[in-house]
């Protein structure tokens, strides 16, 4: 997303008509695109008339590469899957510096609009908007760079330094125009949109540096080095896109599992995702490193996989379970454990899926005791208590907190319990009676014993306490 084309952002994603509801907004977006287009054309004509014209070979090379790299955006909204557009525009700013042809970088920028899906669908507003937006962004960067460096020989270090403000100018035009069109299309506030997209500005800088080298190499050795420069970058980006695509596929597979669980037990709809959210909160609170947060998230999403083997009528049984049924239900932990163990990435935290995970045992050597299972256990118990199940209504958040605190040090790891409570308090989130998403379970009993939550498994005698 080095460059935000209109493609990058949800409101103008493939079907703008889905998002742009009011005809009024439609008209405003069209007016903006047309206005920008006219302004860009007029600027280009004025610059062309004043001359000089850019040299054809670098112009074509860089423009084609820009168009190509913009067409390649496989998965927007990710940092490294970014387009190399700013690099090519920066390269053009360096290459055309000596001839002082402003038209060069502008045309190279405009070529970035040539995105194949947009062309195939003849989405003229997107084409026009992207062409003018990129042209103006490149023009802004060019003006800044040339103003600072001037013409004639400049040492590479000076160019590198000057590329910073130039990239900033490019980014500002890019971001503001894209934020503007999104704000117009969705009726959101412009400033909010700018805030949203500007977070990604930093990624421009390395590409801007690379662009300076690209330009210098071009000037030194000619056009032949340009593909050598661009190909590895495109290959790296392609590899990253392939990774993101595979990750997406994996997410879909995990959703299959959750979908199957929810088909069995509608009361647990959203349970896995909520546990994943709480687990994330706790992980951040406890300073779990980012590399392990992902494993934690997947363990949370999959911790109930074993419930697939529990017959539906037991999973949804409103009353008490017989001893035999209870054994049958308990088998799900074994199965969950076995399944998670089969996945190398999750094997170290497979204990997340068992009630043993929750049984807190302070040990001398903490390195042998990954904290993830404790985190999942607490998050699981908390969500089980604060959501309505087939056998009882949701408890309030305060009851759930008290329950967790009372069992901290016995069943739950106290650090984890404290982390969850403070994370939720700080975020001001309230879960539990009346706040849970599935409020339609009005007929659920007030209390009872059932099977759906790990914390709820023990045959219960007094009915008021649920998580044990």
């Amino acid at each position: 997303m080095c460059d935000h084309g209109a493609e990058d952002l949800p409101p103008l994603a493939d079907h703008p008509e889905d998002r742009v509801h009011e005809p009024n907004q439609q008209a405003r977006v069209t007016a903006l695109c047309a206005g920008l287009g006219i302004a860009a054309t007029a600027t280009a004509v004025a610059l062309g008339a004043r001359g000089p014209w850019p040299v054809l070979l670098p112009l074509l090379t860089l423009a084609v590469l820009h168009a190509f790299s913009e067409s390649q955006i496989a998965i927007p909204h990710d940092q490294l899957a970014s387009s190399a557009g700013v690099m090519l525009c920066m390269g053009a700013m360096v290459v055309f510096r000596d001839s002082e042809s402003y038209l060069g970088p502008m045309l190279v920028g405009a070529a970035g609009c040539l995105n194949i899906p947009h062309l195939m669908g003849w989405e003229w507003r997107k084409l026009l908007f992207n062409a003018s937006m990129f042209a103006f962004a490149a023009l802004a960067g060019t003006s800044v760079l040339w103003f600072i460096v001037g013409s004639g020989h400049a040492p590479p270090a000076e160019l590198l330094l000057a590329s910073l403000p130039a990239a900033l100018a490019y980014a500002v035009v890019n971001l503001v125009l894209v934020a503007l069109v999104i704000a117009l299309a969705t009726g959101q506030r412009l400033l909010a949109m700018i805030g949203l997209v500007s977070k990604e500005y930093l990624i421009y800088l390395p590409f801007a540096f690379l662009g300076v080298f690209l330009g210098e190499l071009y000037l030194e050795y000619g056009v032949v080095l340009v593909p050598l420069f661009v190909v590895p970058i495109l290959v790296a980006r392609q590899a990253y896109s392939a990774y993101l695509a595979e990750k997406e596929q994996h997410e879909a597979t995990v959703r299959i599992l959750i979908g199957a669980l929810e088909a069995k037990d509608p009361y647990t709809a959203g349970h896995a995702e909520r546990v994943a959210t709480y687990v994330h909160y706790i992980g951040i609170e406890l300073g779990v490193p980012a590399s392990r947060l992902e494993r934690l998230r997947l363990a949370a999403l999959m911790h109930d996989v074993g419930k697939l083997v529990v017959p539906n009528h037991l999973l949804n049984k409103p009353g008490k379970l017989t001893a035999e049924e209870f054994t049958q239900v308990r088998r799900h932990e074994e199965v969950s454990f076995e399944i998670l163990t089969r996945i190398d990435f999750l094997a170290p935290v497979a204990r997340s899926a068992t009630t043993k995970a929750g049984e807190f045992a302070p040990v001398a050597d903490e390195r042998d005791q990954p904290i993830e299972p404790h985190i999942v256990a607490v998050a699981d118990a908390y969500d089980a208590m604060t959501s309505t199940r087939s056998y009882r209504k949701a408890l309030t958040q305060e009851i759930a907190f008290t329950e967790l605190q009372q069992n901290a040090g016995k069943q739950f790891d106290p650090r984890v319990v404290d982390a969850l409570i403070s994370a939720l308090r700080r975020r001001g989130e309230v879960h539990g009676r009346g706040h849970e998403a599935a409020v339609h379970h009005e007929d659920a009993p007030e209390a009872g014993t059932g099977s759906a939550g790990l914390g709820d498994l023990m045959p219960d005698t007094d009915g008021s306490k649920v998580a044990r």
Binding site: L217, L225, H250, T253, R342, D344
Partner: protein, 380 residues
Amino acid sequence: MTRASRVLIVAALGALAAAVTQVLDPGGPWSALVVLGAAIVLGEFFLLRPGRRAPLPLSFAFVMVLMRAASSGDFALVLLGALAVAFVLRPARSMSARLVTTASRLVGAAAALGVYLLILELALRPDEIGVVLLALGAAGVVQIGVDDAARMLRARHLSWSIDGRLADLALVTSGMLMSVAYRGTDGTEGMGLWAPLLFSIPLLAAWYSYKRLASIRRTHEQTITALSVVPELAGLARSGHAERVADLSVALGDDLGLGRHELEYLRTAALLHHLGHLCLDDPEVRGVPIQPSEVSDKGAEILRRTGYLSAGDLLASDSASLGGQILRVASAFDELSVGDAAFADAAVEALFSGPGYVYDARVLGALERVVIGTAVPARF
């Protein structure tokens, strides 16, 4: 020893050696050559692993730079030193494997240098950038070719695939760029060591991406396989059923000429074809036996709802697609043969003798070829 510690050792040794040569021979070429040698060693620890392609070391690019930076004698000296260090630090498999790798690197580098010098020798204007690039490109390709050849020799099997060759392209183009920028051509000024440093960034980005890709791919495959055994753990299917049906489906699909993507969908659908069973109520509870079509439709519904449209369509009981037919035949075959090769013939016969509208004739033909013919079901 982890990669991080190996990298640290080489970096520290390289820096030390470069400093010493700088002191002994100020302004001489040797400190740069020592750094390039260290880069070659480091490159041996960073292997691009795109998908099914065998790993490709980044060191090939740095060998190209060394070619451009050093005389032939110095090249040989630095290369031998680098390979010796790499030999010691190489993640140990067997000693013989390390020896073979080192030998193939030596042959590759020597052949590459030979080709490079030959092209420059034959060229009328060896300083022309086009000529230099041609020689460098050829040297890069030769290194990869020797590596491929060594691998085929060791496997005693001739095979070459286009899979993952984008990585080769990135490696060779980066190597060419680094080498030209290192020394310049035809009177241009070079960037020196900045060139390999700067232009290895995209290669490292590619290395990182391929690494993440491989790891998520493995996790994904294991997740699907793990899900596929849940019906077996629940006692709803014979042990190994999903895996066998998946293997057979892919073999049948391959025989009938399905493409790679279709085979992938087919494999997913086959592995998960009993998933729907888990979501249906017990027959005792609902009082009606479960129909196979209910199982497939429930599974298809879940797959479709979770974004696996193609695999879901294959699974649906009314699927008329070839993939759906394959899945049905493979599953029925495994039920009939109870997963035992001894019953294979009988099972094929039983499927053939059923009414013609139940199973697709093309698929039955393929089944006969795959199961009874010489072909062993190929793993996908």
